[in-house]
Subunit: 195 residues, 4 copies
DNA sequence: ACCTACGGGACGTCCCGTTTAT
DNA sequence: ATAAACGGGACGTCCCGTAGGT
């Protein structure tokens, strides 16, 4: 890793929580510079524009969040348990990037204007859904999940419930909504299980 | 309504979709002015600051959204049907203010900084939850809803599912996620019903 | 004086010693901003470029210097005494603008490039020479100064001696060179006097 | 002279007029490079910093100037003639380094900040003064110069007059001021002569 | 209600001085 | 000796939010 790459990563890591907390329009390049101790000329060597920096920061944030939320997931074999584990992990683990879930933040923040960010958020949701759908499908093949279940609907419901309750929890400043979501989702998982 | 009040309302109505779409930091007072045809000096006769304008715009947006989502609700007597109606209405009726659900937008946008807006969003969520909880409780009293049900959990789940799926739908550009949410919520309502 | 004019003067007064000390290329707009407490956007409302600001600052510096050096000059009637007074004043009074004589500084600093500043310095020297020449000529008319004297040569010699010795004094950090110049110039004045 | 020394001298000779014309802050290392056809990395093999290069360039400029101004001086025996010759040479010979007298330029340019250059300029003035004082003193010993004369005052006056008039001449674009200085200085020399 | 004045500050470009690798 | 990489930072434009004056 060259010195420049280190610097670039440093910038991204510093920018990620700033963009995640304050949104694209709500923070300035100067805020990022202050957080890194670097100067403008340096930053613009690595990122052609604020948009590009925001995109890199979002990718980083999303990767960090995914890493933390899926840690230990592969070691579980049973698909229902996998989903249950995933729900628990989401509910218990706070976002490693300050400012909450970058996927939701960016989806909302970039919804109008900033097509690049918007597209990245879209892909993030899509990949998440695909991952859940795959688990459900494989569970059906393995006979762990009932045949009538619609994988896409499960994926949408899980994500919606988790993100939605996260939003409520953040505005309320309590974890209650997330706990409620967990109960409901576990009930859903029980119902679709063949056991 | 005096002439001044008309002007004020005109400004608010113009500002609402702009703030809702682009967020507080993402749009300028000039954007609002352009939408009204008025000039800066005039706006400052009615609103002391951008924050104040944004707060007024949010209150307006929220009121509009609540009106549209609860229209016809009071005419339904059965509490389960009431909730079912509400879900349907949410899923089918787009936000009357451009830019999606102002509650979610503002909750996310104002999460860091802008305490006034943040507080307004909090109250909005709180009121919504209270309304649902009240319906559930009255349903329990009326024997329409099973006793084991936790009103708060129902409220949280409904709102989380609806807002979460709304977010997915917006990033995807499809209504699928919302339809899925509706199916799951109706299933939930069936289960809690005494019938 | 409008608020803007006050601000403009504040900027000029802050910029004058900075440019005078560090030269045009040797200082930055930011240095001036720091000295005023203002921000860039504000400064560029009043000055279109660094060059323009430097020109205004130089004009101000020169005017201050001239004011201080010629104070009390008009009350003296005899032309030789006038010149003597002027020499004394120059030797004893330090530049009111930090950084030494702005005329010499700018003449040297702007000698290559920066034609506007260069021209201002030229005019400054010209005016100074003209003033001295005028005193000499009037002295000749009044019979106080000998007829053979060449006014231009007196002007050139006085200015050269004063500015040259000022330069020496500054590099040495002593006032000796200036005192020596004073002695020589007074001797010169004695010789050209008819008394 | 090794190959490296040749390169070093080439750089210095190229840098001298550039620094002398534009000042330390007013020119860039790239300007020097362009004048030599070399590349940056190469220059930094010979000079550790811009300051160091500027110091070397100044030393070179000063040596060149002194050489040219004192050429033929030693062959003159009479001290008054020596001084007269010196004045003439100064007035008639332009600086061999473009941009005027490096001593004055550097004295002004480095007056604030850049202590190394400042010190070099100081030493340059000091040496010049010492040289003139020595001639005066030896003239007094030899009986060519009157006893009442103050060597230091003569040195200061000569340098001040010459440098001061040089400054005037450069801003005016005429040689008049220098010629006037020459006349005055020769008159001064006549007066101090015992003949 | 309009219009202009005002100070603030973000953005991005350019290039500088220096270091490193070749 | 060349050339690319690196961090620093100056410059100037644009527009923002706000205040006054008309």
């Amino acid at each position: 890793m060259t010195k420049g790459e280190v610097t670039m990563q440093k910038i991204i890591a510093a920018a990620a929580p700033i963009f995640n907390q304050r949104g694209f329009a709500g923070c300035s390049i100067q805020d990022v510079l202050d957080a890194t101790g670097l100067e403008k000329g340096c930053l613009y060597r690595y990122f052609a524009s604020k948009e590009e920096l925001a995109a890199a920061a979002f990718k980083y944030s999303l990767a960090e969040v995914v890493k933390v939320r899926t840690e230990g997931l592969e070691e579980i074999e049973n698909s229902v348990e996998k989903l249950r584990y995933f729900v628990g992990r989401f509910v218990e683990t706070p976002s490693p990037i300050k400012g909450g879930c970058p996927l939701m933040n960016t989806a909302i923040d970039a919804d109008d204007g900033n097509p690049e960010l918007r597209e990245l958020a879209r892909k993030g949701v899509e990949a998440w859904k695909a991952r859940i759908e795959k688990i459900v499908k494989s569970g059906m093949e393995r006979g762990e999940i009932r045949k009538e279940v619609k994988p896409r609907r499960i994926a949408n419901s899980m994500i919606a419930m988790l993100e939605g309750s996260l939003m409520i929890s953040r505005t309320e400043g309590t974890r209650k909504a997330m706990k409620d979501a967990q109960v409901m989702l576990e009930r859903m998982l029980d119902e679709m299980s063949t056991r």
